[in-house]
Symmetry: C2
Subunit: 529 residues, 2 copies
């Protein structure tokens, strides 16, 4: 079924002689299929097609884009078990998780389709003419969001569906009206091919232009850098490591003439603050919940809780003991790929040997089986404050408990913390009010503040913010999950005294699509008389 080809618009292409194979951490061996690394000609072909396709696709009505996205979801479903089984082999993730992730991926395509059908997302703002105004007449001015251009999407290792080929970046860029070129993740090139061909089929079936979507196979950073430096690429969506994200940032800011937005989601260790009264009252429940969150997906989530803040007490001691009990009971599971597994054990050893860090529990090193075992460390808050290195992400089922002497040291420790995707706090209402300062710090340093639950589990909805201050992302003004993610791939434009017939549908007087607009400062779905 897999042929190892690049998908370049409606063509499948394998001009390159260089190939690679995916390694399966489940099987402990290379999978047989060979994937052809895209040649420069193939990359250029995909880019040229993306430009042409953008010219057409950027102008189709939102409902047409909605049909395309819904058809992609249907085509993904049609892939059936073949998709799930390949992803299982390539990512080591269990089938149940992958089934859920596939459904989420289809649902987020449908959510964007719904957003497009409703239409108001495009932020239409109209100020009508005032020809009689003194001292000067006012022109008719109408503003809307329009797509940026071809977008490059970098597939993530840890979500072979939801943050990869047909994942959130692709869905939101296509919804925005952009063409998309995906750089396949080398760890799940077969999954990518299945997804890419599903998108290709959906594009063909719905009459989309050739080149609206391409998927390229590349080795290491080369392809990524090529895409990022190319002048016709107008935005980048990336989920991955801090190192890879910052390499892209360097390319984007230093190797291009024209700056473009880079949405790199990179590094977050997701602090969880446990306020004393609540921790004392619910020690077992909190320990069980957090141990589950730390080990969920073998800790390979962007929102994995890598930092737990507590204030020294009897309850804290009991909590740590319960955490150890929970963590040690977890059956070791297979990690995503060899590199991640190797880094996990290296990084956790580095953390263990850092100044002030005490080992509480660690499972044995199962690197040879590509399995990740949990680990828990503690560190006194003063040592945490003194060393930024303790904030380096350890990607895997590992967490560091920061033990504070008192509230004031808790505030100090949190203030020393980098930007994060999420910040959780456990406390009852009265306690939270007493610790308002702590809540405020979480608000300043994160994109999502969570009350009384663990950070893993990112709801795909309208209000979600999956983003946050650096180094969590390179651009805190956006989210990569939820419908607002569409804003990453648009820019505003306004039309002054434009004839009706030349205006985009959504700015015309009659408001045929019935979207919510802001007219002379008032929100309305009414037509302009």
């Amino acid at each position: 079924m897999l042929n190892g080809h690049n998908v370049i618009g409606f063509e499948e292409s394998a001009k390159g002689q260089k190939t690679f194979q995916s390694f399966s951490t489940i099987q402990g061996s290379f999978l047989q299929e060979k994937f052809h690394i895209a040649t420069n000609d193939e990359i250029e072909a995909a880019i040229a097609k993306a430009v042409t396709a953008f010219g057409i696709y950027s102008k189709v009505p939102f409902v047409v884009r909605a049909v395309f996205l819904e058809t992609i979801a249907a085509e993904i479903f049609q892939l059936g078990d073949v998709l799930l089984e390949r992803a299982h082999l390539e990512s080591g993730l269990p089938l149940a998780r992958l089934t859920g992730e596939r459904d989420r991926t289809m649902n987020q395509l449908k959510l964007f389709a719904g957003l497009l059908r409703e239409g108001s997302w495009a932020d239409a703002v109209i100020d009508t003419a005032m020809p009689e105004r003194q001292p000067l007449p006012r022109a008719d001015i109408r503003r809307i969001l329009q797509p940026l251009g071809p977008v490059a999407v970098f597939a993530a290792s840890n979500f072979p569906f939801a943050f990869s080929t047909a994942g959130g970046d692709t869905a939101s860029a296509l919804a925005a009206g952009c063409s998309v070129i995906v750089k396949a993740h080398s760890a799940h090139a077969g999954t990518n091919e299945l997804m890419a061909t599903a998108i290709k089929r959906a594009a063909e079936k719905t009459g989309m232009p050739d080149g609206i979507f391409s998927s390229l196979i590349g080795e290491g950073a080369t392809l990524g850098q090529q895409l990022a430096a190319n002048p016709v690429i107008k935005a980048i969506g990336f989920t991955g490591s801090y190192r890879a994200g910052m390499a892209l940032y360097e390319t984007v800011t230093q190797k291009r003439t024209a700056p473009i937005p880079l949405y790199a989601e990179m590094s977050s260790i997701n602090p969880v603050v446990l306020l004393p009264e609540t921790l004392a009252l619910k020690t077992t429940a909190i320990a069980t919940s957090l141990a589950g969150s730390i080990t969920l997906g073998v800790g390979q989530f962007c929102t994995n809780p890598g930092l737990l803040f507590v204030i020294k007490s009897k309850a804290t001691e009991a909590f740590i003991e319960l955490m150890v009990a929970s963590l040690s009971a977890v059956i070791p599971a297979t990690m995503l790929n060899q590199a991640i597994c190797k880094s996990y054990y290296t990084d956790r050893t580095k953390l263990m040997n850092a100044k002030g860090v005490n080992l509480v529990y660690k499972g044995e090193n199962l690197q040879n089986e590509y399995k990740g075992t949990p680990a828990l460390f503690t560190v006194p808050a003063n040592e945490f404050i003194a060393s930024l290195a303790l904030q380096d992400e350890v990607f895997g089922p590992c967490s560091l408990v920061v033990i504070c002497e008192d509230k004031s040291q808790l505030v100090q420790a949190l203030s020393a913390m980098h930007g994060q995707l999420t910040g959780s706090i456990y406390g009852n209402e009265e306690e939270l009010i007493r610790y308002t300062e702590v809540v405020q710090i979480l608000q300043d340093k994160t994109g999502r503040v969570i009350f009384n639950s663990a950070p893993t589990g990112v709801e795909v909805c309208h209000a979600m913010v999956h983003g946050g201050p650096f180094p969590a992302t390179t651009d805190s003004r956006t989210t990569s999950v939820g419908t607002e993610a569409i804003r990453r791939f648009v820019r505003p434009i306004c039309y002054q005294d434009c004839p009706q017939v030349l205006l985009p549908l959504y700015l015309q007087n009659n408001n045929a699509a019935g979207i919510m607009r802001k007219i002379n400062g008032n929100y309305t779905r009414d037509a302009i008389q």
Copy 2:
């Protein structure tokens, strides 16, 4: 009245021994007042105060911010003629223009106050909990825009009021909830001082925190680079030259650990396309209007029309003759400052000597009187296409007519053009429809497409987009004029299962402020029951 001090929150400060004086192109001499360049201590003091003030100000209700902005407008008005006269001496701009610009500056403060009173700008999005949902319950998630942090604003030479100390960047950043540090423009340091003290008085009168606003005096690029590199500065608003803007871009992207948004509005030559039928029918009216636009404010506008695209014809010849008649009748006026005047004559000579460029008209060189005289050149489209240097901005009353052989060469020439703030097109409806491709290029390359009028004159309203693709700005996703400018200084945050009492006012169930919110995908001003 002027004392040459820096305004650091509620303090006036002049610790530095180094001073400078403003040069008046009107008087042809230095003005007597000495301005004290901020010392490192003073810069640090302003920054420290901005951080503290942000902590308080970012949390006040929108209406409180509205009162502050309205009070600034009132204090500016209270400055009376002293402000206008000082700005006249420092900028060379006539009093009538400065009176209009002052009113615009007051009005834009009031417009943002209105936006804040209405409140819906903060994009509140709420997805309520679904505890019974299968397979997993949904949490309550509520999203809102929150201010980024202290903002640095760089005053512009060409708008001593509207794009300077109390101008659009300051107004939108304060409206967003940010504290502001303005780098005064050295050409109008006295005007800056008057404006800064007006803001200071407004802050004191309305009980704003000390440090919500500071204004620092610096020489050349030093102060700007210091502010841009400082880790607590969270965004930058800049209007100025390409060179200065890109120097800031380099600092922001290479000398900081954490990237921040830089909104640099830099370089635009604002193409105007004259379609043949309309040009033939309305030759005189168009020539008069464009000659007026080219020479308005001695051509010192970001939206000055520096490129006119025509298709070779009798009408084109007549048009050029009429332009010469209009331009040569303009009485030479004083330019903003010595440097701008010098650059104008140097740059227009460079353009005149460029390959393929023909001189049509140029007024004499009045550099010794600091006056700018108009100039008009033509170039065949093929030469325009061949040389990017012809797109270098000549800041002053000068324009280049690109003469195309036919429609297809017009399309080619426009396609070779850089990003712009505006693109104008003159044509009747039928003609515009025939030239849809041309309209499309303008849409792709600009932030504002203008039909049948000149680009100068930027309405401050809800729908305005004053922005555009590089090199017009460094970030085409935003506008620096109009209410949407507030979006530059905010980021989204969401709260998961947050107790009502800890939520921002605008996300609480009762919706006391009555703002428009998106609840479970529907727009409503209703409370949540």
